[in-house]
């Protein structure tokens, strides 16, 4: 098993954020070094003034009653799962510098879960020989 797992997290809906958090937590639990790069809509979701909001569901949920499959769930706990992932093991969450510029967002406005601002080469170097997922 590879020692590292890297996730480029682009999506900002609750369902995809939860999927990413679950993978990060699983990787951390298994002793892997997990690197997450936040881009675009995921980066926006990690703003300290927005992180606790509802972020909706992805297009896959498009249907007459779009929340019907998950109505019983209530709040989708992706934020808590990311927090647990960090407690479980080696998880680094970086804010993509390019996305910060595109969104006109200063890193100081991000939730403390985000470790640092980073460029693409630094993320790819950290990813090393491990798998890179795009969510």
């Amino acid at each position: 098993m590879s020692e590292s797992l890297s996730i480029v997290l682009f999506s900002g809906t609750d369902d995809k954020l939860h999927a990413a958090a679950t993978i990060a937590a699983g990787g951390a639990a298994m002793g892997m070094s997990v690197n997450v790069l936040l881009m675009y809509w995921a980066l926006d979701a990690f703003r300290v003034d927005r992180i606790e909001n509802e972020h909706g569901l992805s297009y896959d949920a498009a249907r007459p009653r779009w929340k019907e499959p998950v109505e019983h769930v209530g709040e989708i706990p992706w934020l808590e799962t990311f927090r647990q992932a960090k407690e479980l093991g080696e998880v680094s969450i970086r804010a993509c510098a390019g996305s910060l510029a595109t969104l006109g967002l200063d890193p100081s406005r991000l939730d403390p879960l985000v470790d640092e601002e980073g460029g693409i080469a630094a993320f790819l170097a950290a990813a090393d020989d491990g798998q890179i997922l795009f969510i």
């Binding site: 510098a97 980073g118 460029g119 080469a121 630094a122 790819l124």
Partner: protein
Amino acid sequence: MTTQSTSLSSDELAALDVAKVVDARGAACPGPLLEAKKAMPGISVGQVIELWSTDPATKTDVGAWSAKVGHSCLGTLPAEGYERTFVVRGK
């Protein structure tokens, strides 16, 4: 993350004989990195480029890139509103 760098002191960096200055100020990642890469064929092995950037991610990015492709990142000096990163062409 492995970063190949022979970290020089500020004085040593300031005294470097620089073959080319690459002004990537105003560009966000991956811009400065691509400018550095494009500049390399224009200098000889062993010569130094000086990359100017306003993006704080540039210095770690260039460090990681240098290590990966065989150059050597010597360090960064602060300037007025930007940073100057020095890289020796390794091959």
